[in-house]
Amino acid sequence: MAKDIWAFIEARDGKPRKISLEAIGKAKELAGARGVKLGAVVIGADAGAAAAEVAKYGPDVVYAAEDAKLKDYSTEPYARVLGDLVKEHSPAVVVFGVSILAKDLAARLAARLGASLAGDVVGLEGDGELVATRPVYAGKAQTKVGFKGEPVFLTIRPNVFPAATPDGKTAEVVKVSPKFEDKDFRVQVKETIIPKKERVDVLEADIIVSGGRGMKAPENYAIIEKLADQLGAAVGASRAAVDAGWRPYSDQVGQTGKVVGPNLYVACGISGAIQHLVGMSSSKVIVAINKDPDAPIFKVCDYGIVGDLFEVVPAVTEEVRKRKG
């Protein structure tokens, strides 16, 4: 019998994350093309609630591994649970949505099981032989890779593949009782720190407003934040701004920061060093605001304004406010 296709589901507050719905969307497409079953796996201290929700999005079966020991994410307990399920049911492919957690888990388990892993997948041909397209050199190049054995683990980039939608049916939820080994707990989570943030992270944002060297001083980011507030956007920064200590490294977009692909990316006072451009080049629409008409950023933007960002950005903010009423 042909082997199943699975999606790994990350839950937050009892609900599947958007990237996980994208993972299940892609897995569903693959399962449909091959005429095989679609499975979903939810792991966590409150996996049951998210599993009941995921069951509506088209899988044939949902495995819910719930255990108080899985409250805080830790690599090895999660790898134990998912690994045991993969060994028991032998899926051909497991699709993960890209996140720090998913990359961490997929890497550990791929090494353990000798699985074929491709990360950050942005394209997939799956009707015949499975071929994945993934960026390398932060997206300056892409590779098409084939796989030499199963299972295949894929982590897919957010905002690339459409998310699954509820299909009117509800799949069976199979409860799984994890069996751990002592060594799964070599690492102890002492504390979880959730920063007070009014805004989404750049990796999860649909819109990002970024500021670079042209911001001149950290306090000037207030004008970026005002525009971001109007747009419901995340605030990003170039490497120059982060290295100057103006913004936290977690905001950095670029080859040594985060590689993002929002619907709209607004670059303010960013000249467009290649190491920044590769970090945002997969954005659907790019806007540049810069006073230097020769800045490289204008060559890669969809829309640009040549002008002083300290005048232009507040004017744009006001226009957005007016339009949104």
Binding site: L117, T143, R186, D302, Y303
Partner: protein
Amino acid sequence: MKVAVLVKHVPDTETRIQVKPGDKKINEEGVTYIISPFDEFAMEEALLLRERLGDVQITAVALGPQKATEALRTCLALGADDAILVSDPAFEGADAYVTAKALAAALKGGNYDLILAGKQAVDDDAAYVGTAVAEFLDLPVINLVTKLEVNKAAGTAVAARDLDGYSQVIEVKLPAVFTAQKGLNNPRLPALMGIMKAKKKEIRTLNAQALGLAPNELGAEGAKVEVKEMFVPSKARKNKVLTGAPAETAPELVKLLAEEAKVL
């Protein structure tokens, strides 16, 4: 204490990457190579550990062609005590899985208390090797570390690491593998004295045979993933650049975003 630092020799992040049609790798002509930036954080952390704890022996380890000795020479100049180059023509076609296998074999038996690496190399961006090395050596791994404190007497480490929109403080008994995230430290540059001293330090080369790896574990044969094609993607952009007074350009931009691009 013994600390191993895994480094990779990669094209400079400022490099424009080119691929000749039909090739499965980049055109290396005119490309300058550096230590992968996240590995620099790992190397710096090893040096800081020595400054804090005193007796710390640092071994830099790289897998790559002979040219990768340049990265190791830089580590020696920064203060590594010795270095190992894992190199063999048989690694041609190796993927991250094979690379991790070979590095684990090179580290095995070295009694390292900590193995430090970058969170990912900025060439293949796989974010895999550090974790896989940990798995092959049956060690815990803590990825994306932004803070690391070692308690030598207790044989433990406490690390802060990034997760999705939050972070964790983690305690682990050593030995363990840690991968470095930006924010961990600010890497120093090698001093002239260090560069002079590095010239006298030894770089050992280990080939596949020395590592005890079978031919079917190496290169393309051992790889789990095969690169079939490499290309430079291109995306056409509209390039509508507006000039003039903000009172005119700002409304025009917002109109275009709402009505043409439909992103507002």
